[in-house]
Amino acid sequence: MSMPVRVALQPLMERRDDSTLVITHQGSARVWPSMAQHALDFHYNPSTMGGAIPFGLGIALSRPDLHIIVVTGDGSLAMNLGSLVTVVAAQASNLTVVVLDNGIYEVTGGQTVATRVARVDYGLLGKSIGFPTASSFKDCQLWSEAAAGVLASTGPRLISLVVEPALPSDMHVELEAISYRLAELAKALKTECA
């Protein structure tokens, strides 16, 4: 059982507010902008694989008044699994990591990620690392019903959503240069960084 990506992202969109910064990465950075726009959205492409969680952690530590949601893929996370340990060690209670687990490197054509072969359960992984909240969802309705409670629970949070590959039409999006988008984010955050 798995969820369409757009359906999996919907509960996050419905519950984000003006004190929530959403960082998308890789596949989700292509889908999210076609579903919603907000001054506190940052689509981290082009990026370094696995870079979104540390980037989000840095903002979370800087801005405890905001809830930071990082949406990343399982392929990216697998390249930087230690970043989950760093998040817990840094006690970033205002950070939520959402893993879209589709088992493939979607952007490069659908090759299998080793974590799928190994049957990694990110919810269990998160619990073993020490995330106060760590959950996995495969079913749309269960995720939709649980989302509000999970997002309001003690952080940092790790949420794994088992999803289907995105539609080919979702894999193309036109965005401004990332340095421009980062400068816009800095304006929204009222910081002088770019």
Binding site: T48, L61, S62, S83, C193
Partner: protein
């Protein structure tokens, strides 16, 4: 040791550094207790590739991080560095410990690649090899921050 822990804390505080983002080595690692005892926030990452985007997030959030790692970690984390410096265009600054810098006849190839790698990434760097050169750290930091560009201090080990 070119800097002891107290001296490094003083340097960082004088520059307005808020966070140290690091993977320690046997030289840099001796500063740990001084950082812990100071007002600086010490962030321990598991791999050097985390350090650059973490520093980028801190800068975006209005902080002034200083990245610290050994040269080997600098090599390994190149793509993360590339993204932060050349895509995000953020002025990250780092102290990179040059492993076996003073062992010119050694068997460690890490020494040989320090300068070529810094040059390959087109980073503005300076080298500190003696105690008399300590002031280069603050000078180079101010220079790079004023110019809005990334910079590295290569610290001989």
């Amino acid at each position: 040791m070119i800097f002891n822990g107290e001296q490094m804390v003083t340097e960082c505080q004088g520059l307005g550094i808020t966070h140290i983002v690091w993977v320690p080595d046997s030289v840099i690692g001796k500063w740990e207790q001084s950082f812990v005892a100071s007002s600086l926030h010490l962030l321990r990452v598991c791999r050097e590739g985390e350090a650059w985007p973490l520093a980028a997030g801190l800068i975006t959030g209005g902080q002034r991080p200083l990245v610290m790692m050994q040269s080997t970690g600098f090599f390994e984390s190149g793509d993360a560095l590339r993204n932060v410096v050349y895509d995000l265009k953020l002025p990250v600054f780092a102290i990179v410990g040059a492993r076996n810098w003073f062992q010119q006849q050694g068997l460690d190839s890490a020494r040989d690649f320090c300068l070529p790698m810094l040059q390959a990434w087109d980073l503005d760097y300076c080298i500190i090899e003696t105690e008399s050169e300590r002031s280069l750290l603050s000078q180079h930091y101010v220079h790079c921050q004023s110019a809005g560009k990334a910079g590295v201090v290569l610290l001989g080990e």
